[in-house]
Assembly symmetry: C3
Homo-oligomer: 475 residues x 3
């Protein structure tokens, strides 16, 4: 049927006004073939180590992607029917889930999820139709056939995507064996580096805080029976990560508090946390102290500290009990960086080695807090829009809100933050198109010289994140 | 005088760029003749029951409209001179108020109030001049003459406006006789349905809480001397409303708190509230519990729960004493849906019958809270921009902020929320134009296929609110 | 080198779309030659009294401008190398600072700082090249040469800039001798008026509160040993300022709280503050009471009360110790005008003489709080975007957020708020261009008649701030 034919337009996301679009095209041309640097994400390193074929379209595109599943769930689809928490689906169940996506695909019109997937369908897998109930089976079949071919295995795609560096997100007690094996594997020339993500070890209110601390101690070879031991274990594991290529640590608590306690109070609360006798307010106070410690450690070991705070995780108890974490019920809340980061920035904000990147889903802090902070502290960078707002209009709002205070050079560069490996080039491409659109507008309104915009985009996609995350040119 | 001639431009609110405007025109054409569904508003049902002619232009356009009066008041006009709280104005006073509007009309340039009224002047009443001191008398005369004609009586306009359903907002103790009479009147084929608005009965801090509870009990035939009785009386009255056609309840407290108390604590606080001994914090706690009860009742009776929280009512004591409520001194405050709704959504957020629509004047929650919540909970919808932000730019900001997370299908459809009966078509038309503008932009930037946009607008104005508010096709 | 040639484009900041741009040009033409009224700023009055030549390009453009310095600092430049807190720089150091700016100039692309300075370079000083390391010396030389010429002295520029009125910001104990001398100087026909800025005298938590109170008492000839004396001293000094031409007072505390205390409690806390025994919460309570007193005094003496709240000053202790205040480490925080101003507006919000202008860097209050408040209280005006958001995109956001509620007439007119004398015309010009852009968009979308837009811009730049700040036509 003729109106099922579809490939994304080459000018997608560029401005509609022909004169501005011409400028945007020129800038995008300078960006589009630059290699991908992905300094923060959630792809499993074993994907590349094992290099197994992807199982089927559903397990590649639907089941693990909470962006996709949550909208279908809101429209009445049971997450189980999408494979969430069901183990591997058989072919019939997989195809049924695919049809559910096809039936609801019209409701994704205008969303970045659809935008990314249509980019992937077309540019990665060469499909030329739009997804709908009529085309669903043929598209499933063609995808399944492609996935079985060697050029669609993870390593081949890694090369096709022109990824230079991809960071994963890892538990502090992880031995990082997959990273080590990949680095040792001469047949794989990409760079897959770990990221130190200690969140759960820094939450004294958790019922399993003692067990986690013990595990951390075991991994570090340090007795974590005391606060001092816990701190030392963190230092040891961070260095272990750095030795395995890590360039950053990541932190995502409900607030970015960094107020320090007196040492004796920290010790006392740590012991209470181990004993399960710590109060709620005390647990918050100790968590903030422990985060402040991470900043101190960062000023020693040079790992860039990325902050992703202020999300109320697992908002629905029932869904958490049924399906676990990371299934779409994480809801952002308001954040205050100014008060919460003041202790940390007074402690290490001017230290030579310290660096932090601030991410937010709360757009109110773009112009009010992040731009003013990153526009004066040498150690602070404005992170790219994150999660729900990693989308064309929101990225434009971000650029328009922060650029007038800090230009482009104090921003992090694009961060895909994704579990969906095949969406990485689509996401980076989207970001490049939007930056070209923003800059083209400035040029067209005579707010920036075309040559200044050209100079910016020459370094923005690849060089900027390299510098911010201290990734050497030849790393 | 030639420059007094004026009718609104057919392309008003559509994009200036000719290529994008062409797309917007095509989409708007698909929307503009769809019938109006108005599931939330404040028109008095007796207007349609009595079908009396409107008294005069001032009492139709000025006196009851706080949007209009407040801006004049800020510019130094006494509300009394606009007829507020003055009883019916005589012809001289009415004409004087009309002249005040004409003198200040230039200050309304660019506001939705002026936009709506100019739409009404032109499209409802056929006037062809702009309002100013030169044209004021002639326009007053022409309007007065029209208002006396049968085709400008409320029922005739209801038909001309193509209103299929219009909800009013009603007190829980109201007997809904006008609704019953209208439903029984075979000469009136429109649908005018009540809305259950129990706010004042849920505010234990009110000095008249006991009297209100007693009145509620009397209406329900239930003894409200206890908390259990109060809850039962609410159940009874909600069903009474549902039996009279209601499809929703409406709730507008200073915050949307829904934390439940232990039953014994609720009972104790209820008794204290009746006895006038409840403390301020206790009253807040009980109010939140009572709102959570409304959600439970909604999960039983299926009334859609619309939330309009976070307005500091009657900000000026002096003006409240002089003119009463609803005269323009209600000022929005920041809102937090994520924490406040968590108890309610954990209680009934996955119940089959439960549904809630979140409205806000605090735009910060568009992308941060409302889109993430409505994009995952099947029971949650994003309400259209409300009150001060029911305006072209704000609606565009809303669409741009929420659509990237939840598309169009998880939004409520347009809600006019108005007391100004004649503005209903103008408001719905404005919303349709802005949706066409937003979608045309997505199409022009190749972010949405034209056929997807066409499909959306085919159902957006009429079918979408029908579905969200459970209004049957032939209701 | 050819690509070093550069002058700002005549159409800069106007819309890219040719049809809209034509409208914007027409509106801008009506604005651009109107005289400048600058009712709030930070230029030192002695600059005009002494009329000395500016020392050199660095001390004119770099050293005192924290907008410029902060971005360089974030990029690793030591503030000392820019002359901050170093006393007068010698020619070598001055030229070195200038070269630092040239090296980092590309990072300012798209910022208002660069926009303003390029306007100044071109339109004030006639330079025709872009700043970069190649052109730095020649531009420095040409600027230095110009600065030595009589037509580039402050008074000559004041005339060239067409400044009718310029307000300074002054300490309550200042004798205002420079203002008096300028007013008495028949060779200077401009109007330079003081502004009463009592912030530090209203902060009971300050260690030097007693000394400040004593100094205030001495200046006023009133014993400030008691609260009543302090209040009387404030009354006296405000009148002294008014007698020297002041039309406004300015207030910039961390919050705009105005809750009043009981008189006896105010007296008790004042005494405790003098004795250094006041607690932190008490100091906040007393500060809010003292601000409420300023509002009462304003309702007596008619000084317009401008509020610039919610900035965390001197966020970095280390930088404050090294370089002092106002060097770029002031970071905005969220603000709540609705609750904080309610006591004040209930006290004097309807008083004939009282007037207040609300400024914010927290954009969330544009549509949520400022527009609703200024759109109903006759005494409240919406201030122009301030500080970090005094920039093209943010001004557009402001207009789009507030105009739909209150149009243009309830806004303050542009406020440059600058220490950088030579940037005044650039800033006002930027604002006029953006207003023309905003209005042209409304006209092009048929949301405002062209003649209404013409009428607005005829009074917006000069007449509007005259009226809001009670500056007589011939003052």
């Amino acid at each position: 049927m003729s109106n099922d034919a579809y490939v994304p337009h080459p000018d997608r996301l560029l401005p509609a006004d022909p004169a501005v679009r011409d400028i945007a095209r020129e800038l995008y041309e300078l960006e589009k073939d630059q290699p991908i640097v992905s300094p923060h994400g959630h792809v499993d390193p074993r994907l590349l180590l094992d290099d197994e074929p992807f199982r089927d379209p559903t397990s590649l595109f639907i089941t693990p992607d909470h962006y996709v599943n949550r909208l279908m769930h809101s429209r009445g689809v049971d997450l189980a029917d999408l494979g969430v928490n069901q183990g591997p689906l058989d072919e019939k169940a997989s195809r049924k889930a695919w049809h559910l996506l096809a039936e609801h695909w019209h409701a994704y019109a205008g969303t970045p999820s659809r935008y990314w997937m249509e980019h992937e369908f077309s540019e990665v897998f060469g499909l030329k139709t739009v997804l709908n109930p009529r085309t669903a089976d043929a598209m499933y079949d063609e995808l399944a056939e492609k996935l079985a071919q060697p050029e669609f295995r993870p390593r081949a795609l890694f090369g096709q995507f022109m990824i230079e560096v991809m960071a994963t997100t890892d538990d502090p007690v992880d031995d990082l064996a997959p990273h080590a094996a990949l680095a040792a594997d001469e047949s794989f020339t990409g760079q897959v580096i770990p990221t130190f993500r200690p969140d759960k070890y820094l939450e004294p209110a958790r019922a399993d805080f003692r067990e986690l601390a013990d595990a951390l101690g075991e991994a570090a070879g340090v007795d974590t029976g005391t606060y001092d031991g816990h701190l030392e274990a963190m230092r040891v594991r961070r260095l272990y990560f750095r030795d395995h290529g890590a360039v950053s640590s990541d932190h995502a608590h409900i607030d970015p508090g960094t107020a320090r306690l007196e040492l004796e109070e920290a010790r006392r609360l740590y012991t209470a946390a181990r004993e399960g006798t710590i109060g709620a307010d005390e647990a918050t106070a100790l968590r903030r102290h422990l985060l402040a410690d991470q900043a101190r450690l960062a000023s020693e070991d040079g790992l860039v500290m990325t902050l992703h705070p202020a999300v109320a995780r697992n908002h629905s108890d029932a869904m958490f009990e049924k399906f676990g974490a990371d299934v779409g019920f994480d809801i952002p809340v308001a954040v205050d960086f100014v008060h919460h980061l003041r202790p940390m920035l007074n402690d290490v904000g001017h230290a030579e080695n310290f660096r932090t990147v601030l991410f937010t889903i709360d757009e109110t802090v773009f112009s009010r807090e992040i731009a003013p902070l990153a526009g004066v502290y040498p150690s602070v960078y404005a992170g790219a829009p994150w999660w729900f707002i990693d989308s064309p209009d929101a990225i434009l709002r971000f650029r328009r809100a922060v650029s007038e205070t800090l230009g482009y050079t104090r921003t992090s560069g694009f961060i895909d933050d994704t579990r969906a490996f095949c969406s990485i080039p689509a996401r980076h491409d989207m970001s490049r198109r939007i930056d070209a659109t923003h800059l083209a507008g400035l040029v067209a309104e005579h707010r920036m010289r075309l040559e200044d915009a050209r100079e910016l985009v020459a370094t923005l996609p690849t060089q900027q994140p390299r510098e911010v995350f201290r990734l050497g040119e030849s790393a």
